[in-house]
């Protein structure tokens, strides 16, 4: 009798775990859909901004439309400059999640971050972190982190992210860092997410040729600029950095929800399978108990005769 009771207890536990994981899966699905909308809605904006930057740098670099000599150096904007000023001090921002139960999501990000750190072992890399999971990881391995931006949660506020981007640009321009990179889970499609390292600063120029099917030199030369391209770029480049960082945050959140959704789905499936197995074992044990009892009664009756 003891054995069936024990199995019954486990069946109950498995059933309630299944209920919990199923709920978590449904919550993750809802959150994924909610977070995907803003991330996707921002895409045309991000693409258009990138296209504008490409055209403007081409125009400014060619000197088209630029009246005076130094305005012609559109390529030479401080945010684009790659010269090493500070023996290669770098900043790495790691975007992890605050909560677990999302499969290998954090592990993948941290592995990518580690690979980055290994690649830049001879340089000083300061680490900044978003999300508790990365904090506890770096504490565990004993790596010092510069900052933990705990105010940015899984509903990233545009203003917070903009402030963060502004801070990075300031530090970059002040020469504190030679490069600022971000590790995050890039969202490619609902079935594909990839841990990615993106260099935020100095900016990598978008391929102007790619954004434009005709030759850039001819199209950009015809533009009327107001104000001058160099001045426009001065406004546009910081905006681009902000938009890019925000996109990283948004995609990271979407990927997190997908990862949780997938992890919880397989947990639910596994719990279902285990429940079935347990029911079978339980029935078998119960049947065995009944059989034993019956044969005891029969043999008892036979002994009386």
């Amino acid at each position: 009798m003891g054995k069936t009771q024990e199995i019954k207890g486990r069946m109950k536990a498995v059933a309630s775990i299944k209920r919990i994981t199923k709920t978590m899966q449904m919550i993750a699905t809802a959150k994924f859909q909610a977070s995907q909308r803003p991330a996707m809605a921002a895409r045309p904006y991000t693409e258009k901004i990138a296209e504008l930057v490409g055209e403007l740098t081409a125009a400014a670099g060619a000197g088209g439309g630029a009246g005076d000599g130094d305005a012609a150096g559109g390529f030479d904007h401080p945010l684009l400059r790659t010269t090493a000023k500070n023996n290669g001090r770098q900043l790495l921002l790691v975007l992890s999640s605050n909560r677990g139960m999302c499969g290998a999501y954090n592990a993948n990000i941290l592995r990518t971050a580690n690979a980055f750190l290994k690649d830049h072992a001879e340089q000083d890399v300061d680490i900044e972190v978003v999300g508790k999971k990365a904090v506890s990881y770096f504490r565990f391995v004993g790596t010092e982190i510069q900052a933990h931006h705990s105010h940015i949660t899984d509903t990233p506020d545009a203003d917070d992210v903009h402030r963060l981007a502004d801070g990075y640009m300031e530090q970059f321009l002040a020469g504190k860092y030679d490069a600022v990179s971000v590790v995050y889970m890039a969202y490619e499609s609902a079935s594909r997410q990839k841990p990615t390292v993106v260099r935020l600063l100095p900016m990598e120029l978008p391929q102007a040729d790619e954004a434009d099917d005709t030759t850039t030199a001819t199209t950009t030369a015809d533009y009327d600029f107001s104000p001058e391209p160099a001045e426009l770029l001065g406004d546009l480049l910081p905006l681009t950095v902000r938009v890019r960082l925000l996109q990283c945050f948004r995609e990271g959140v979407v990927s997190e929800h997908i990862a949780r959704m997938v992890a919880m789905k397989s947990a639910t499936d596994a719990a279902g399978k285990m429940g079935k197995q347990l029911t079978r074992t339980y029935n078998r044990a119960r049947q065995a108990a009944i059989t034993t009892e019956l044969s005891e009664i029969i043999s008892g009756a036979a002994a009386l005769e």
Partner: protein, 136 residues
């Protein structure tokens, strides 16, 4: 029917507008700029103000636009705005309250001051938008 061209308006939140238009008046950084079909390629910075789009069938749509960029290229006008509010979502009373609030605010730092200036311009433009409703 007058010559029309394509005009798109995107913000960080969404694609707001993508239709054929016959005339567009954009709030450029240095004043209102009118654009019609076959305009030469143009890139300009947007200020805060009222965007007016006239459709070839007649009728106009108006938006409050808060900064961004405009690009005219191969017969298509692309507006990339930081913020765009359709006319019918601008309430006179709200705009008035926002203006009063911005006017009452005493900026102490440089940052506050620029933000306050933005708020003031925004509220004034919104107010102008709601006041002239119907006669655009």
């Amino acid at each position: 029917m007058p010559d029309s061209f394509r005009c798109t308006l995107v913000t960080p939140k969404q694609q707001v507008f993508d239709e054929q238009v016959s005339y567009v008046s954009i709030p450029s950084w240095d004043g209102q700029v009118g654009l019609m079909s076959k305009r030469a390629p143009l890139v300009t910075k947007l200020g805060q103000g009222v965007l007016r789009l006239a459709s070839p069938q007649g009728g106009t749509q108006r938006f409050y636009v808060g900064g961004g960029f405009a690009q005219m290229k191969r017969g298509t006008l692309s507006l990339v705005a930081e913020e765009a509010v359709p006319e019918d979502q601008v309430q006179h009373t709200d705009a008035k309250a926002a203006l009063a609030e911005a006017q009452a605010f005493k900026p102490r730092t440089e940052e506050d001051f620029t933000k306050n200036q933005r708020d003031l311009t925004r509220a004034r433009a919104m107010l102008a938008l709601s006041d002239t409703r119907g006669d655009a």
